[in-house]
Symmetry: C2
Subunit: 327 residues, 2 copies
DNA sequence: CCCGAAATCTGGAACGTTCCAGGAATCGTT
DNA sequence: AACGATTCCTGGAACGTTCCAGATTTCGGG
């Protein structure tokens, strides 16, 4: 008569045992005789019992939920990081809860709070739009790992990064080796990772004695890259290192519109080595971030925190350059 | 001394009232005097109280959680649908729980079960890899809406679709109007939406008396489009209508590799009008699916189910053609 | 056969919230 | 001043699970 979802008590009634034993049996704990376990499992299957994760989480004080906060889904690199996190989380029985659209601090805070209210066991933040205090507040509830924030470590928050400065150096070295001197850097970012890449670019240019040839094309978010690019081209720039693949693709689009051949008229290097790099025409040379390792490492760091580690860890992985047809 | 998360009882103790009253006050229900409400709110803020969504959900029998299952995150169209759903859900206080990677039936089932165990209040399935029985099983727990499955309605499951056959017709009509006769269709899909587009393509070709010129290039998933395309080009085909933007972009890539100018040497039309269409070189003519409306509609349908509707609804929206530089 | 130990099982108390029935204070009316 | 109607507040019982302490059964060995 009770048409609502069957509970553990219903199973117990049907199998003729106590609810406690059903709980034990279904979780596979020892101390249950094979015969009754079999009976319980069958009873559960018969009435279509499924455990209520909510109730379990409430009692056990853990949800096996991993909150992942990402700036946006429209940059393939972000979604690839999310996928790598999920791949790393799944074998541990952890489910990923994805909150996106955290490109503004306010919304970011709200999403993180929502995840916290749900008692996620850990938080992985792929957006850099979270204020340190916000992260620290969240970390009082559950361990937090920043992925890809770069620069300043935040006390109490672990982080996984690629070495943005080194990555930028790889790009510049490659272009210089190909004979370019007037290499410009296109960026729309005022975020840590963007700034680090810019700094790496400037340092590398200086190292090659090309400091005076360096030129940073700044564009506002959502602003077209065109004007800045035109000015750089006019000034004789023959190669562009873009802050990420999306902006590199913008460069390719602009070159296409202007009828400039790539790489003959203009060499282009991106950053991230996302799906975009493989789809671009021509295929984009790009600095590869070791996403898979980053995802795994992030999950590992959470495990360590759960196991009791209280000191901070800041992992920095080495990027590599993937050379394709755009240079 | 209790260093763990403060609960409603802690707030009650501090404000000198009963826990029930704290619950009432913080939820903003009437029947609480302004003075005590103020006192309670202050007490809550002072000890940093945040409500436990788990406990609430357990008691209230609703989580305000919306499960969204999507085949993959690597097709921009999917993520755009997810974003539109989230945009529609947010004003109602619903949070989106995203499960992706549901490209295989087994994993799909597992993800749906996981969401069900978490007691999501509704399920929006953007992948077509779910067997009808699986969906119906899920629908016994919470209402389910299929987005973009097309074709056969499933009893008990609402759906939101664009009219794929009509969309395909729009593409063909456009190409025919531009003077093309040998128009091929590229598809890798055996899913309902793909089949509907293919059927629409074939019907439209027939309608124009071009049935004998019709040619479907089938490719396996993860197979390169090259061989099939070459054969079609050899046969004199001058335009290609691809099953979606991703495959259209593959065509553009192939044309690029072969040095074929688009649209002069080959006209290309995609489907979805995703971000990819705007990034492509040349900009891709594509059949636009009204994503925003689809997301809203999906959420509306869930609301109606919650309000008690028991009859099925199958909404079909009209796609439009967006003409760009690839034709 | 009996005894202690091991194996198996059970009832009730949590977890943090909301819901419900009702108690206490306050108020306006006559 | 008494009355019912409001308004404001409270204690305890849910929700579905796990945990704990202990009860019961089974078993091996002398």
């Amino acid at each position: 008569m009770n048409s609502s979802r069957p509970t553990i008590v219903d199973v117990a009634a049907r199998a003729g045992v106590s609810k406690s034993l059903v709980s034990l049996a279904l979780r596979g704990d020892g101390g249950v005789s094979a015969a009754t376990r079999e009976r319980i499992v069958r009873a559960a299957a018969e009435i279509g019992y499924r455990s209520n994760a909510l109730a379990r989480a409430l009692r056990q004080h853990r949800t096996m939920l991993l909150g992942v906060v990402v700036a946006s889904l429209d940059n393939p690199y972000h979604t690839e990081v999310v996928e790598s996190v999920e791949r790393a989380a799944e074998p541990h029985g952890l489910s990923v809860l994805l909150a996106h659209g955290a490109r503004k601090a306010g919304r970011m805070a709200e999403r993180i709070d929502a995840l916290g209210d749900l008692n996620v066991d850990g938080l992985i933040v792929v957006s850099s739009w979270a204020a340190p205090e916000l992260l620290q507040a969240a970390a009082r509830r559950a361990p937090v790992v920043m992925v890809g924030r770069s620069l300043e470590p935040v006390a109490g928050i672990d982080s996984v990064n690629n070495d943005d400065e080194h990555g930028a150096a790889l790009a510049v070295d490659h272009l210089v080796a190909a004979g370019h001197e007037r290499i410009a850097h296109l960026t729309s970012s005022t975020r840590p990772a963007g700034l680090a890449r810019r700094a790496g670019y400037e340092a590398a240019m200086a190292r090659h004695g090309l400091a005076d040839r360096a030129r940073v094309i700044e564009r506002g978010r959502d602003e077209p890259a065109g004007p800045g690019l035109d000015a750089a081209l006019e000034a004789g720039c023959s190669a562009i290192f873009a802050r990420n693949d999306v902006e590199a693709d913008d460069v390719l689009n602009h070159a296409w519109d202007r009828g400039i051949a790539v790489p003959e008229g203009l060499a282009v290097v991106g950053y991230d080595d996302s799906a975009l790099a493989l789809r671009a025409r021509p295929r984009l040379t790009s600095v590869h971030q070791p996403r898979a390792e980053m995802g795994e490492l992030a999950v590992d760091l959470l495990h360590e925190r759960w196991a009791g580690r209280t000191t901070d860890r800041h992992e920095v992985l080495e990027p590599t350059l993937v050379i394709r047809a755009s240079t």
